[in-house]
Assembly symmetry: C2
């Protein structure tokens, strides 16, 4: 992971980069350290030129020399439904690259995180991966570290930081488009808590697909919790309301499984009368549902892999801040089969 | 993690240990390296004396000096139901101790494992944790490494190795004793594949509790797969058989959930007429079951913690081979409540 061209490394200086970019040396230094005010376009251009020329800052060179092949991973929710596949994907990617990791559960507490960042600095870790517990923005880690960091799933609110996220809206669009394509036109949206970003993003994407097809929801969206129990309740509530439905878009697989159980016990045929979709593609839930459940897979394992990959690339050479979006997949099963 | 008493460390020699133990110096060396034929009792006595005297072998001292605070973790089944909590427990324990880890999925292939052990040696890892995917014995890792190793969940067949396992039989006993204590006396055992060690160990423990209480199974044990689908089928098969039952002991939560669904749909009251128990205490399954499911928790997270703890202790100082058994817990819920 060190540069292949030692000769070049000793020749290119910040002065060369500044000359080529037509900026002051101090601007190069600010741009490459990511500390100090530099316009985003300027910064990206300087990084590009520095990479082209094979420039390494003194800090970078010393880091390459002293690399420990160890990175710190900060999670916020140790057994979280989303944290686990994300973490496993990242661990696999790091391990394939011969990089060890030290894990820390910050529990979303900035002070705990800062303490860990400090201990990582003492250990001379090469980088930090911050794995979120859900689909929401988060402040950058504290600690003023100059070690490269990448955020996964939850994205950093700082435009200086790089994040890898799931294309949640794209996934919700896939489910809605599938229902529209199979002739459903009286749909309802059932999700977890109203103010969860996941509920809101998925609802907006669903509505936008309906609107593009000249449709609207047949019932106002209903919000509750991320559980099977809530799914059952929501389905009973919908049946009691008397509204005509032919599709139920659920915000999670657990909600969808509850919905399917209630429909089954009320003698409503799925998918003949009502199609149902989930979100998460959680194997134990989708395959045990009756009928089996069509669901959106956020590819969290891939999100973890990509985040670890981006981080190790950044450790090798600086790169502009970026937000990578990992596409979702729609996995078709019986609950939405064509009639 | 280095000895607190540097003065003592330089004074005690293998000769001192040999003198105290009344054996040859070569025997001390064999006993402490774990290589070479030494009677088990002799070996344990030598280790005890070495620890008492604060003796460190040259190898150990050099290891302490060159410690990398990195250990290798070998798993066999990356997304395995049992692997994940075990791995997370181990990672947490290591991270709390400031130890980084490098993960490797050996997929149960000795050649792949050997390759990884070699790469760990190059990295100068301090130890190896081998996390199994199930409750069965496994051969020791190959590669003739002298690095300390601990096996978790699956135990090593070599008496030289240390393992941390779940007390599976104890857990099964708890479930059976609970059913007997609540007055059930016509029980049946439904499990996954017949030749899985988990099926056999749990069946034997169940039978032994019944026998201690002057009971026998009311129906021969039935084996299938570890799925909800199989649980439903098994329950239907039992109802068709016409046998009188008041308890169904299931080999897993997924089987139990299927059993509960079939009983519910056939109008059989649980727990009034039939009590049902699961195994795994898998939150998403036990809490969504109707009624909620009484289950045995193998405390896999604790198994992972203890294994990591034992390994780091062994890195600090040699200790005799041991097999630690982590107790299970029986978690009572509605499916077996008192009438």
């Amino acid at each position: 992971m060190t540069s292949e061209n030692d000769e070049q490394r000793t020749r290119v200086t910040a002065r060369d980069v500044a000359a080529r970019a037509g900026v002051a040396i101090s601007t190069v230094s600010k741009a490459l350290s990511g500390r100090g005010a530099v316009r985003r376009e300027t910064r990206e251009r300087i990084i590009e030129i520095a990479n082209e020329l094979g420039y390494e800052s003194a800090q970078q060179a010393s880091r390459a020399a002293g690399r420990t092949a160890t990175i710190g991973v900060i999670i916020s929710d140790r057994f979280g439904r989303l944290t686990v596949p994300l973490l496993l994907g990242a661990i696999e990617e790091l391990s394939e690259r011969g990089i060890a990791l030290q894990l820390f559960d910050g529990r979303g507490d900035p002070i705990r995180e800062q303490h860990f960042v400090e201990s990582l600095r003492q250990r001379r870790a090469d980088g930090i991966l911050v794995a979120g517990a859900g689909l929401y923005p988060r402040p950058p880690i504290r600690g003023g570290t100059t070690v490269p960091a990448v955020y996964a799933l939850s994205w950093s609110t700082s435009p200086e930081d790089s994040s890898v996220v799931s294309d949640d809206a794209g996934g919700a669009r896939m489910a809605a488009e599938h229902l529209v394509a199979t002739g459903r036109n009286r749909m309802v949206f059932v999700s977890g808590p109203r103010d969860d970003a996941a509920s809101q993003v998925r609802l907006a994407a669903t509505r936008s697909v309906l609107s593009e097809n000249g449709l609207t929801l047949a019932h106002h969206p209903i919000f509750g919790s991320w559980s099977e129990h809530w799914g059952r309740q929501a389905a009973l509530q919908l049946m009691r309301s008397g509204v005509e439905l032919d599709g139920i878009v659920c915000g999670s697989d657990q909600i969808a499984r509850g919905v399917l159980e209630a429909l089954r016990e009320s003698g409503v045929d799925v998918p003949e009368r009502i199609a149902v979709t989930g979100f998460d593609n959680w194997d134990v839930v989708v395959s045990a549902s009756r009928p089996t459940l069509t669901s959106v897979d956020m590819n969290l394992h891939t999100v973890g892999h990509r985040a670890a990959e981006l981080l190790t690339d950044k450790i090798d050479r600086p790169s502009p801040a970026t937000v990578l979006r990992v596409e979702c997949d729609l996995v078709l099963r019986e609950s939405s089969a064509l009639g």
